[in-house]
Symmetry: C2
Subunit: 110 residues, 2 copies
C-alpha cells in the first residue's frame, strides 16, 4: 500500500537555514532546481534533498516541465505555525495578558 508520506512537519522543515532561504527564493515565483541550487554553496543534490523535506511538509510543490522540475511555494502549512505562535503571543505583546500572567504566577520565595 501507499508509503507514509509526511516524514517531516513544518516545524522540522523550517529548522534549517538553507530551507528557510529556499522558501524565500520561491516567493519570487516557481523555479527549477538548477536556478535554486545556483544560489547555494552546496551541491545540486543537497538542495534537491532540502526541497524534498519542504515538499513533505507541504511547503512546496514540484512539477516536471520537460527535463526540469519546477518548485513552487505553498504557504498553507505555515498556518499551523502561525496558530501555534498565536497561543504564546499573549505572553509578550499584550501587556494586560502579561500582567495577568504574572499575577497568576505565584512568586514563591527561594
Amino acid at each position: 500500500m501507499g508509503q507514509a508520506l509526511p516524514q517531516h512537519d513544518v516545524y522540522q522543515a523550517i529548522a534549517d537555514p538553507s530551507r528557510r532561504r529556499l522558501l524565500r527564493l520561491l516567493t519570487q515565483g516557481e523555479q527549477p532546481l538548477s536556478a535554486l541550487s545556483g544560489q547555494f554553496d552546496m551541491s545540486r543534490t543537497a538542495v534537491s534533498k532540502h526541497l524534498r523535506v519542504l515538499r513533505e511538509a507541504g511547503l512546496v510543490t514540484e512539477r516536471r516541465a520537460g527535463r526540469e522540475t519546477r518548485y513552487a511555494f505553498r504557504p498553507e502549512p505555515l498556518a499551523e505555525l502561525k496558530d501555534w505562535l498565536a497561543y504564546f503571543e499573549q505572553f509578550w505583546d499584550n501587556k494586560l495578558a502579561m500582567l495577568k500572567h504574572l499575577a497568576e504566577t505565584p512568586d514563591e520565595e527561594a
Copy 2:
C-alpha cells in the same frame, strides 16, 4: 579556549514536539524539573536536556531554588519567529497580495 556550545536557535528549539509541549506547560508558570518531567514518558535527564536546548534559545530561564531548579518561560525569542512568519503571510491571508503575487509570476507553459 572554551569549546563553543552548539547554541541552538529558536527554530531548532521548537522543532521537537516535546520541547513545544514543555513551552506550553511553562506558560502555566515557573516549575521545577520534577514537575515537568512527571508529564513525560521519558527520563528526567532527557527532559533536562530538552530544557537546556530551550534555554540556549532563550526560551526558558533556570534558577536554583533550594535543591530544585525552577524553569520559567521567556516569550521574547518567539518574536523572531513571528517576524519571519510575517514576511510569508502576504502569500496566503492577504488576497490582494496573493493576486499581485500571481500576476507577477510568469505562468510559463510546459
